[in-house]
Protein backbone atom coordinates (compact mmCIF):
# COMPACT_ATOMS: atom_id res chain seq x y z
CA UNK A 1 0.00 0.00 0.00
CA UNK A 2 1.18 3.45 -0.94
CA UNK A 3 -0.80 6.45 0.39
CA UNK A 4 0.19 8.59 -2.61
CA UNK A 5 -1.24 6.05 -5.08
CA UNK A 6 -4.34 5.51 -2.94
CA UNK A 7 -5.03 9.25 -2.87
CA UNK A 8 -4.40 9.61 -6.62
CA UNK A 9 -6.94 6.84 -7.22
CA UNK A 10 -9.51 8.37 -4.86
CA UNK A 11 -9.06 11.73 -6.59
CA UNK A 12 -9.54 10.14 -10.01
CA UNK A 13 -12.74 8.37 -8.90
CA UNK A 14 -14.12 11.63 -7.48
CA UNK A 15 -13.31 13.44 -10.74
CA UNK A 16 -15.29 10.78 -12.59
CA UNK A 17 -18.25 11.25 -10.27
CA UNK A 18 -18.04 15.02 -10.69
CA UNK A 19 -18.12 14.53 -14.46
CA UNK A 20 -21.53 12.91 -14.02
CA UNK A 21 -23.69 15.55 -12.27
CA UNK A 22 -26.86 13.51 -12.58
CA UNK A 23 -25.43 10.61 -10.58
CA UNK A 24 -24.10 13.07 -8.03
CA UNK A 25 -27.54 14.67 -7.77
CA UNK A 26 -29.26 11.32 -7.36
CA UNK A 27 -26.78 10.32 -4.65
CA UNK A 28 -27.68 13.35 -2.59
CA UNK A 29 -31.35 13.88 -3.40
CA UNK A 30 -32.80 10.35 -3.48
CA UNK A 31 -32.21 9.55 0.24
CA UNK A 32 -33.84 12.86 1.20
CA UNK A 33 -36.87 12.18 -1.00
CA UNK A 34 -37.29 8.71 0.51
CA UNK A 35 -36.90 9.99 4.07
CA UNK A 36 -39.39 12.76 3.34
CA UNK A 37 -41.85 10.28 1.86
CA UNK A 38 -41.52 8.03 4.89
CA UNK A 39 -42.11 10.89 7.30
CA UNK A 40 -45.17 11.93 5.33
CA UNK A 41 -46.64 8.38 5.17
CA UNK A 42 -46.35 7.96 8.94
CA UNK A 43 -47.41 11.51 9.72
CA UNK A 44 -48.97 11.70 13.18
CA UNK A 45 -47.63 8.34 14.41
CA UNK A 46 -44.36 7.46 16.12
CA UNK A 47 -43.31 5.04 13.36
CA UNK A 48 -41.01 7.55 11.66
CA UNK A 49 -39.06 8.10 14.87
CA UNK A 50 -38.62 4.33 15.13
CA UNK A 51 -37.57 3.49 11.53
CA UNK A 52 -36.26 6.83 10.27
CA UNK A 53 -32.80 6.49 11.80
CA UNK A 54 -32.28 2.84 10.74
CA UNK A 55 -33.22 3.79 7.18
CA UNK A 56 -30.64 6.58 7.30
CA UNK A 57 -28.17 3.72 7.65
CA UNK A 58 -29.73 1.48 5.01
CA UNK A 59 -29.88 4.01 2.16
CA UNK A 60 -26.16 4.77 1.94
CA UNK A 61 -25.40 1.03 2.10
CA UNK A 62 -27.71 0.26 -0.83
CA UNK A 63 -26.74 3.26 -2.95
CA UNK A 64 -22.99 2.81 -2.53
CA UNK A 65 -23.28 -0.93 -3.17
CA UNK A 66 -24.93 -0.24 -6.52
CA UNK A 67 -22.67 2.60 -7.59
CA UNK A 68 -19.49 0.77 -6.69
CA UNK A 69 -20.38 -2.58 -8.22
CA UNK A 70 -21.24 -0.95 -11.54
CA UNK A 71 -18.17 1.33 -11.60
CA UNK A 72 -15.77 -1.47 -10.74
CA UNK A 73 -17.36 -3.73 -13.32
CA UNK A 74 -16.89 -0.99 -15.90
CA UNK A 75 -13.27 -0.75 -14.84
CA UNK A 76 -12.85 -4.50 -15.33
CA UNK A 77 -14.55 -4.66 -18.74
CA UNK A 78 -12.97 -1.52 -20.25
CA UNK A 79 -9.44 -2.84 -19.76
CA UNK A 80 -8.45 -0.01 -17.42
CA UNK A 81 -8.19 -2.40 -14.48
CA UNK A 82 -5.74 -4.60 -16.38
CA UNK A 83 -3.75 -1.51 -17.28
CA UNK A 84 -3.76 -0.27 -13.68
CA UNK A 85 -2.51 -3.62 -12.42
CA UNK A 86 0.42 -3.45 -14.87
CA UNK A 87 1.53 -0.21 -13.14
CA UNK A 88 2.98 0.12 -9.61
CA UNK A 89 -0.57 0.59 -8.25
CA UNK A 90 -1.22 -2.06 -5.60
CA UNK A 91 -4.50 -3.96 -5.27
CA UNK A 92 -4.91 -2.46 -1.83
CA UNK A 93 -4.35 1.04 -3.24
CA UNK A 94 -7.02 0.44 -5.84
CA UNK A 95 -9.59 -0.81 -3.33
CA UNK A 96 -8.73 1.75 -0.66
CA UNK A 97 -8.89 4.50 -3.28
CA UNK A 98 -12.45 3.51 -4.14
CA UNK A 99 -13.44 3.12 -0.49
CA UNK A 100 -11.97 6.56 0.28
CA UNK A 101 -13.67 8.30 -2.65
CA UNK A 102 -17.09 6.80 -1.99
CA UNK A 103 -16.59 7.24 1.75
CA UNK A 104 -16.09 10.97 1.12
CA UNK A 105 -19.25 11.09 -0.97
CA UNK A 106 -21.03 9.22 1.81
CA UNK A 107 -20.05 11.94 4.30
CA UNK A 108 -21.81 14.54 2.15
CA UNK A 109 -24.78 12.24 1.54
CA UNK A 110 -25.11 11.39 5.24
CA UNK A 111 -24.82 15.04 6.35
CA UNK A 112 -27.55 16.13 3.94
CA UNK A 113 -29.87 13.17 4.62
CA UNK A 114 -29.45 13.35 8.40
CA UNK A 115 -29.92 17.11 8.43
CA UNK A 116 -33.03 16.75 6.31
CA UNK A 117 -34.45 14.01 8.56
CA UNK A 118 -33.85 15.99 11.76
CA UNK A 119 -34.63 19.55 10.79
CA UNK A 120 -37.17 19.16 8.00
CA UNK A 121 -38.92 15.90 8.94
CA UNK A 122 -38.56 16.34 12.71
CA UNK A 123 -36.79 13.04 13.43
CA UNK A 124 -36.42 12.64 17.18
CA UNK A 125 -33.11 11.13 18.28
CA UNK A 126 -32.20 10.48 21.92
CA UNK A 127 -28.45 9.88 21.38
CA UNK A 128 -25.89 12.31 19.93
CA UNK A 129 -26.86 13.36 16.39
CA UNK A 130 -23.31 13.35 14.99
CA UNK A 131 -23.21 9.60 15.63
CA UNK A 132 -25.99 9.19 13.07
CA UNK A 133 -23.60 10.56 10.46
CA UNK A 134 -20.77 8.32 11.65
CA UNK A 135 -22.93 5.20 11.42
CA UNK A 136 -24.27 6.22 8.00
CA UNK A 137 -20.75 6.74 6.65
CA UNK A 138 -19.54 3.38 7.96
CA UNK A 139 -22.60 1.77 6.34
CA UNK A 140 -21.73 3.47 3.07
CA UNK A 141 -18.16 2.18 3.23
CA UNK A 142 -19.59 -1.28 3.89
CA UNK A 143 -21.76 -0.90 0.77
CA UNK A 144 -18.71 0.15 -1.25
CA UNK A 145 -16.62 -2.76 0.03
CA UNK A 146 -19.37 -5.30 -0.66
CA UNK A 147 -19.99 -3.82 -4.10
CA UNK A 148 -16.28 -4.09 -4.94
CA UNK A 149 -16.26 -7.72 -3.91
CA UNK A 150 -19.50 -8.67 -5.65
CA UNK A 151 -18.55 -6.99 -8.93
CA UNK A 152 -15.96 -9.74 -9.42
CA UNK A 153 -18.78 -12.22 -9.92
CA UNK A 154 -20.72 -10.18 -12.46
CA UNK A 155 -19.85 -10.27 -16.13
CA UNK A 156 -22.32 -7.62 -17.26
CA UNK A 157 -23.83 -4.51 -15.74
CA UNK A 158 -27.22 -6.25 -15.81
CA UNK A 159 -25.87 -8.97 -13.54
CA UNK A 160 -24.24 -6.41 -11.27
CA UNK A 161 -27.57 -4.64 -10.80
CA UNK A 162 -29.29 -7.99 -10.08
CA UNK A 163 -26.86 -8.59 -7.24
CA UNK A 164 -28.51 -5.72 -5.40
CA UNK A 165 -31.77 -7.63 -4.67
CA UNK A 166 -29.77 -10.84 -4.22
CA UNK A 167 -27.32 -9.47 -1.64
CA UNK A 168 -29.12 -6.52 -0.13
CA UNK A 169 -32.81 -7.39 0.12
CA UNK A 170 -32.35 -10.54 2.28
CA UNK A 171 -30.25 -8.45 4.66
CA UNK A 172 -32.95 -5.80 4.66
CA UNK A 173 -35.66 -8.37 5.48
CA UNK A 174 -33.61 -9.85 8.32
CA UNK A 175 -32.05 -6.71 9.80
CA UNK A 176 -34.80 -6.19 12.37
CA UNK A 177 -36.70 -3.36 10.75
CA UNK A 178 -39.75 -5.43 9.75
CA UNK A 179 -39.71 -7.85 12.69
CA UNK A 180 -37.38 -7.35 15.69
CA UNK A 181 -34.48 -9.78 15.33
CA UNK A 182 -35.21 -11.60 18.58
CA UNK A 183 -38.76 -12.23 17.32
CA UNK A 184 -37.54 -14.02 14.17
CA UNK A 185 -37.62 -17.83 13.84
CA UNK A 186 -34.43 -19.17 15.44
CA UNK A 187 -32.72 -20.07 12.15
CA UNK A 188 -33.38 -16.64 10.69
CA UNK A 189 -32.23 -14.95 13.89
CA UNK A 190 -28.93 -16.82 13.61
CA UNK A 191 -28.66 -15.80 9.98
CA UNK A 192 -29.28 -12.18 10.88
CA UNK A 193 -26.46 -12.42 13.45
CA UNK A 194 -23.89 -12.92 10.69
CA UNK A 195 -25.23 -10.23 8.33
CA UNK A 196 -23.60 -6.80 8.59
CA UNK A 197 -26.73 -4.75 7.95
CA UNK A 198 -28.24 -6.11 11.20
CA UNK A 199 -25.52 -4.35 13.20
CA UNK A 200 -25.92 -1.17 11.17
CA UNK A 201 -29.61 -1.09 12.02
CA UNK A 202 -28.97 -2.07 15.67
CA UNK A 203 -26.63 0.91 15.98
CA UNK A 204 -29.22 3.28 14.58
CA UNK A 205 -31.99 1.89 16.83
CA UNK A 206 -29.81 2.28 19.91
CA UNK A 207 -29.11 5.87 18.89
CA UNK A 208 -32.81 6.57 18.56
CA UNK A 209 -33.70 5.16 21.95
CA UNK A 210 -30.78 5.78 24.35
CA UNK A 211 -29.33 9.06 25.47
CA UNK A 212 -26.07 7.41 26.48
CA UNK A 213 -25.66 5.35 23.32
CA UNK A 214 -21.99 5.78 22.44
CA UNK A 215 -20.74 2.49 23.94
CA UNK A 216 -23.26 0.12 22.31
CA UNK A 217 -23.14 2.05 19.04
CA UNK A 218 -19.34 1.92 19.06
CA UNK A 219 -19.44 -1.87 19.33
CA UNK A 220 -21.92 -2.21 16.45
CA UNK A 221 -19.95 0.24 14.30
CA UNK A 222 -16.78 -1.75 14.95
CA UNK A 223 -18.55 -4.92 13.76
CA UNK A 224 -19.79 -3.21 10.58
CA UNK A 225 -16.30 -1.83 9.94
CA UNK A 226 -14.84 -5.31 10.40
CA UNK A 227 -17.26 -6.65 7.78
CA UNK A 228 -16.15 -3.85 5.44
CA UNK A 229 -12.47 -4.67 5.95
CA UNK A 230 -13.18 -8.37 5.35
CA UNK A 231 -15.08 -7.57 2.13
CA UNK A 232 -12.15 -5.44 0.93
CA UNK A 233 -9.71 -8.23 1.75
CA UNK A 234 -11.87 -10.74 -0.15
CA UNK A 235 -12.23 -8.24 -2.97
CA UNK A 236 -8.46 -7.94 -3.31
CA UNK A 237 -8.33 -11.71 -3.86
CA UNK A 238 -10.55 -11.27 -6.90
CA UNK A 239 -8.12 -8.80 -8.51
CA UNK A 240 -5.54 -10.71 -10.50
CA UNK A 241 -2.52 -9.19 -12.14
CA UNK A 242 -2.26 -12.15 -14.48
CA UNK A 243 -5.33 -13.39 -16.34
CA UNK A 244 -5.85 -16.24 -18.79
Amino acid sequence: MNPRLTLATARRVLLQVRADPRTLGLLIVVPCVLIGLLAWIFNGTNVFDRVGAPLLGVFPFVVMFLVTSVTTLRERSSGTLERLLSTPLGKGDFLAGYALAFGALAVVQALVATGFAIWVCGLDVAGPRWLLVVVAVVDAVLGTATGLFVSAFARTEFQAVQFMPAFVLPQFLLCGLLVPRDGLPRALELASDVLPLSYAVDAMRTLTAQVDAAGDVGRDVAIVAAFAVAAIALGSLTLRRRTA
Binding site: R11, G79, S86, L89, R241, A244
Partner: protein
Amino acid sequence: MMNYEAPAVVVDGLRVIRGPLEVLPGISLSVPRGQVVGLLGPSGSGKTTLLRSIVGVQVVAGGTVTVLGEPAGSPGLRSRVGYVTQDPSVYGDLTVRANLTYFAALVGAPRDAVERTMEEVDLTANADSRVDRLSGGERSRVSLGAALVGSPELLVLDEPTVGLDPVLRRDLWAMFHRLAGDGTTLLVSSHVMDEATRCDRLMLLREGHLLADDTPDGLLARTGAPDAERAFLALIEKEVAA
Protein backbone atom coordinates in the same frame (compact mmCIF):
# COMPACT_ATOMS: atom_id res chain seq x y z
CA MET B 1 24.17 -2.92 -12.75
CA MET B 2 22.56 -1.78 -16.02
CA ASN B 3 23.77 -3.76 -18.96
CA TYR B 4 22.86 -2.04 -22.22
CA GLU B 5 24.29 -4.80 -24.31
CA ALA B 6 21.82 -7.39 -23.00
CA PRO B 7 18.55 -7.65 -24.95
CA ALA B 8 15.52 -5.80 -23.53
CA VAL B 9 13.36 -8.92 -23.76
CA VAL B 10 14.35 -12.58 -23.84
CA VAL B 11 11.59 -15.13 -24.36
CA ASP B 12 12.60 -18.75 -23.94
CA GLY B 13 10.29 -21.68 -24.69
CA LEU B 14 7.17 -19.70 -23.80
CA ARG B 15 3.99 -21.76 -23.79
CA VAL B 16 0.55 -20.22 -23.36
CA ILE B 17 -2.69 -22.16 -23.32
CA ARG B 18 -6.01 -20.33 -23.50
CA GLY B 19 -9.01 -22.60 -23.05
CA PRO B 20 -8.65 -25.55 -25.41
CA LEU B 21 -6.09 -23.73 -27.56
CA GLU B 22 -2.32 -23.73 -27.29
CA VAL B 23 -1.82 -20.16 -28.50
CA LEU B 24 1.96 -20.19 -28.10
CA PRO B 25 3.39 -23.71 -28.30
CA GLY B 26 6.92 -22.83 -27.13
CA ILE B 27 8.27 -19.65 -28.69
CA SER B 28 11.77 -18.20 -28.18
CA LEU B 29 12.95 -14.79 -29.29
CA SER B 30 14.83 -11.73 -28.12
CA VAL B 31 14.22 -8.02 -28.56
CA PRO B 32 17.38 -5.87 -28.76
CA ARG B 33 17.56 -2.63 -26.78
CA GLY B 34 16.95 0.78 -28.30
CA GLN B 35 15.25 -0.49 -31.45
CA VAL B 36 11.79 -0.38 -32.95
CA VAL B 37 10.87 -4.02 -33.34
CA GLY B 38 7.77 -4.93 -35.33
CA LEU B 39 5.72 -7.98 -34.42
CA LEU B 40 3.76 -8.79 -37.55
CA GLY B 41 1.24 -11.48 -38.25
CA PRO B 42 -2.41 -12.06 -39.09
CA SER B 43 -5.06 -11.74 -36.38
CA GLY B 44 -5.15 -14.86 -34.27
CA SER B 45 -1.44 -15.52 -34.70
CA GLY B 46 -0.73 -14.95 -31.00
CA LYS B 47 0.64 -11.40 -31.13
CA THR B 48 -1.47 -10.05 -28.29
CA THR B 49 -0.82 -13.14 -26.14
CA LEU B 50 2.93 -12.75 -26.66
CA LEU B 51 2.80 -9.05 -25.77
CA ARG B 52 0.68 -9.76 -22.68
CA SER B 53 3.21 -12.38 -21.57
CA ILE B 54 6.03 -9.85 -21.94
CA VAL B 55 4.11 -7.26 -19.92
CA GLY B 56 3.39 -9.95 -17.31
CA VAL B 57 -0.41 -9.92 -17.34
CA GLN B 58 -0.80 -13.29 -19.06
CA VAL B 59 -1.02 -16.61 -17.24
CA VAL B 60 1.69 -18.74 -18.85
CA ALA B 61 1.94 -22.52 -18.95
CA GLY B 62 5.71 -22.81 -19.34
CA GLY B 63 8.99 -21.21 -20.38
CA THR B 64 10.54 -17.97 -19.19
CA VAL B 65 10.19 -14.32 -20.15
CA THR B 66 12.94 -11.97 -19.00
CA VAL B 67 12.36 -8.24 -19.35
CA LEU B 68 15.12 -5.69 -18.67
CA GLY B 69 16.95 -8.38 -16.70
CA GLU B 70 14.03 -9.33 -14.46
CA PRO B 71 11.28 -11.95 -14.79
CA ALA B 72 8.30 -10.47 -16.67
CA GLY B 73 5.70 -8.98 -14.33
CA SER B 74 8.15 -8.33 -11.45
CA PRO B 75 7.08 -5.42 -9.24
CA GLY B 76 10.27 -3.55 -10.18
CA LEU B 77 9.26 -3.58 -13.85
CA ARG B 78 5.87 -1.97 -13.39
CA SER B 79 7.17 1.57 -13.77
CA ARG B 80 9.77 0.64 -16.42
CA VAL B 81 7.46 -1.06 -18.93
CA GLY B 82 4.63 0.78 -20.69
CA TYR B 83 1.80 -1.22 -22.22
CA VAL B 84 -0.80 0.03 -24.68
CA THR B 85 -3.64 -2.40 -25.32
CA GLN B 86 -5.40 -2.71 -28.64
CA ASP B 87 -8.59 -1.05 -27.41
CA PRO B 88 -7.93 2.28 -25.73
CA SER B 89 -7.99 1.57 -22.00
CA VAL B 90 -8.44 5.04 -20.56
CA TYR B 91 -11.30 6.71 -18.70
CA GLY B 92 -13.89 8.01 -21.16
CA ASP B 93 -15.57 10.23 -18.58
CA LEU B 94 -12.36 12.12 -17.74
CA THR B 95 -10.55 14.76 -19.76
CA VAL B 96 -7.33 13.99 -21.61
CA ARG B 97 -5.37 15.90 -18.98
CA ALA B 98 -7.08 14.16 -16.04
CA ASN B 99 -6.34 10.76 -17.57
CA LEU B 100 -2.67 11.52 -18.12
CA THR B 101 -2.34 13.15 -14.70
CA TYR B 102 -3.64 9.98 -13.05
CA PHE B 103 -1.36 7.64 -14.98
CA ALA B 104 1.58 9.99 -14.37
CA ALA B 105 0.86 9.82 -10.63
CA LEU B 106 0.81 6.00 -10.69
CA VAL B 107 4.32 5.75 -12.11
CA GLY B 108 5.66 8.75 -10.19
CA ALA B 109 6.36 10.81 -13.32
CA PRO B 110 7.59 14.41 -12.90
CA ARG B 111 5.17 17.34 -12.98
CA ASP B 112 5.90 18.45 -16.54
CA ALA B 113 5.44 14.94 -17.97
CA VAL B 114 1.72 15.47 -18.66
CA GLU B 115 2.16 18.60 -20.82
CA ARG B 116 5.15 17.06 -22.59
CA THR B 117 3.21 13.88 -23.37
CA MET B 118 0.18 15.76 -24.68
CA GLU B 119 2.49 17.53 -27.11
CA GLU B 120 4.08 14.24 -28.12
CA VAL B 121 0.77 12.63 -29.02
CA ASP B 122 -0.54 15.90 -30.48
CA LEU B 123 -3.46 16.31 -28.08
CA THR B 124 -2.64 19.66 -26.49
CA ALA B 125 -5.63 21.22 -28.27
CA ASN B 126 -7.92 18.54 -26.76
CA ALA B 127 -6.41 18.69 -23.26
CA ASP B 128 -9.69 19.61 -21.59
CA SER B 129 -12.02 17.48 -23.71
CA ARG B 130 -13.62 14.38 -22.29
CA VAL B 131 -12.06 11.31 -23.86
CA ASP B 132 -15.43 9.79 -24.85
CA ARG B 133 -16.10 12.87 -26.98
CA LEU B 134 -12.93 12.34 -29.04
CA SER B 135 -12.56 10.40 -32.28
CA GLY B 136 -11.29 6.81 -32.27
CA GLY B 137 -7.83 7.88 -33.42
CA GLU B 138 -7.61 10.55 -30.73
CA ARG B 139 -8.72 8.08 -28.07
CA SER B 140 -6.00 5.62 -29.03
CA ARG B 141 -3.48 8.45 -28.77
CA VAL B 142 -4.69 9.20 -25.24
CA SER B 143 -4.10 5.53 -24.45
CA LEU B 144 -0.62 5.76 -25.96
CA GLY B 145 0.03 8.92 -23.96
CA ALA B 146 -0.98 7.15 -20.75
CA ALA B 147 1.90 4.72 -21.33
CA LEU B 148 4.36 7.37 -22.56
CA VAL B 149 3.84 9.67 -19.60
CA GLY B 150 6.04 7.48 -17.40
CA SER B 151 8.94 7.50 -19.92
CA PRO B 152 9.21 3.69 -19.81
CA GLU B 153 12.38 1.89 -20.89
CA LEU B 154 10.33 -0.68 -22.79
CA LEU B 155 7.16 0.32 -24.61
CA VAL B 156 4.87 -2.53 -25.70
CA LEU B 157 2.27 -1.38 -28.22
CA ASP B 158 -0.54 -3.59 -29.51
CA GLU B 159 -1.68 -2.36 -32.93
CA PRO B 160 -1.21 1.33 -32.12
CA THR B 161 -1.76 2.61 -35.66
CA VAL B 162 -5.13 0.97 -36.40
CA GLY B 163 -7.64 3.50 -37.70
CA LEU B 164 -5.20 6.40 -37.85
CA ASP B 165 -4.93 8.58 -40.93
CA PRO B 166 -1.71 8.29 -42.98
CA VAL B 167 -0.26 11.59 -41.76
CA LEU B 168 -0.76 10.64 -38.15
CA ARG B 169 0.65 7.18 -38.74
CA ARG B 170 3.77 8.67 -40.27
CA ASP B 171 4.12 11.07 -37.31
CA LEU B 172 3.64 8.23 -34.85
CA TRP B 173 6.34 6.11 -36.47
CA ALA B 174 8.65 9.15 -36.46
CA MET B 175 7.98 9.46 -32.74
CA PHE B 176 8.71 5.76 -32.18
CA HIS B 177 12.11 6.21 -33.83
CA ARG B 178 12.79 9.37 -31.83
CA LEU B 179 12.06 7.45 -28.62
CA ALA B 180 14.29 4.58 -29.79
CA GLY B 181 17.01 7.14 -30.50
CA ASP B 182 16.78 8.18 -26.83
CA GLY B 183 17.29 4.55 -25.77
CA THR B 184 13.70 3.33 -25.41
CA THR B 185 12.96 -0.15 -26.73
CA LEU B 186 9.70 -0.41 -28.66
CA LEU B 187 7.86 -3.59 -29.47
CA VAL B 188 5.03 -2.75 -31.87
CA SER B 189 2.51 -5.26 -33.19
CA SER B 190 0.64 -4.80 -36.42
CA HIS B 191 -1.27 -6.85 -38.94
CA VAL B 192 -0.58 -4.27 -41.66
CA MET B 193 2.40 -5.57 -43.58
CA ASP B 194 3.32 -2.23 -45.15
CA GLU B 195 4.33 -1.01 -41.71
CA ALA B 196 7.14 -3.56 -41.76
CA THR B 197 9.57 -1.27 -43.56
CA ARG B 198 9.28 1.28 -40.74
CA CYS B 199 10.77 -1.10 -38.18
CA ASP B 200 14.44 -1.67 -37.35
CA ARG B 201 13.73 -5.34 -36.94
CA LEU B 202 10.84 -7.62 -37.84
CA MET B 203 9.35 -10.70 -36.31
CA LEU B 204 6.80 -12.60 -38.34
CA LEU B 205 4.40 -14.64 -36.28
CA ARG B 206 1.99 -17.25 -37.59
CA GLU B 207 -0.08 -19.66 -35.49
CA GLY B 208 2.18 -19.09 -32.50
CA HIS B 209 5.37 -19.83 -34.42
CA LEU B 210 8.10 -17.38 -35.32
CA LEU B 211 8.52 -17.51 -39.10
CA ALA B 212 11.25 -14.91 -39.28
CA ASP B 213 13.31 -12.62 -37.04
CA ASP B 214 15.37 -10.34 -39.23
CA THR B 215 15.94 -6.78 -40.42
CA PRO B 216 13.49 -5.67 -43.15
CA ASP B 217 16.33 -5.65 -45.73
CA GLY B 218 17.62 -9.02 -44.58
CA LEU B 219 14.14 -10.50 -44.87
CA LEU B 220 13.66 -9.24 -48.43
CA ALA B 221 17.15 -10.41 -49.45
CA ARG B 222 16.60 -13.85 -47.96
CA THR B 223 13.22 -14.43 -49.60
CA GLY B 224 13.87 -12.49 -52.80
CA ALA B 225 10.46 -10.86 -52.33
CA PRO B 226 9.78 -7.22 -53.28
CA ASP B 227 7.86 -6.39 -50.08
CA ALA B 228 7.07 -7.72 -46.62
CA GLU B 229 3.65 -9.05 -47.58
CA ARG B 230 5.15 -11.29 -50.27
CA ALA B 231 8.14 -12.21 -48.09
CA PHE B 232 5.62 -13.40 -45.51
CA LEU B 233 3.81 -15.49 -48.14
CA ALA B 234 7.11 -16.93 -49.40
CA LEU B 235 8.02 -18.00 -45.86
CA ILE B 236 4.64 -19.63 -45.29
CA GLU B 237 4.91 -21.54 -48.57
CA LYS B 238 8.39 -22.68 -47.67
CA GLU B 239 7.14 -23.89 -44.28
CA VAL B 240 4.18 -25.72 -45.82
CA ALA B 241 6.46 -27.34 -48.42
CA ALA B 242 8.96 -28.46 -45.80
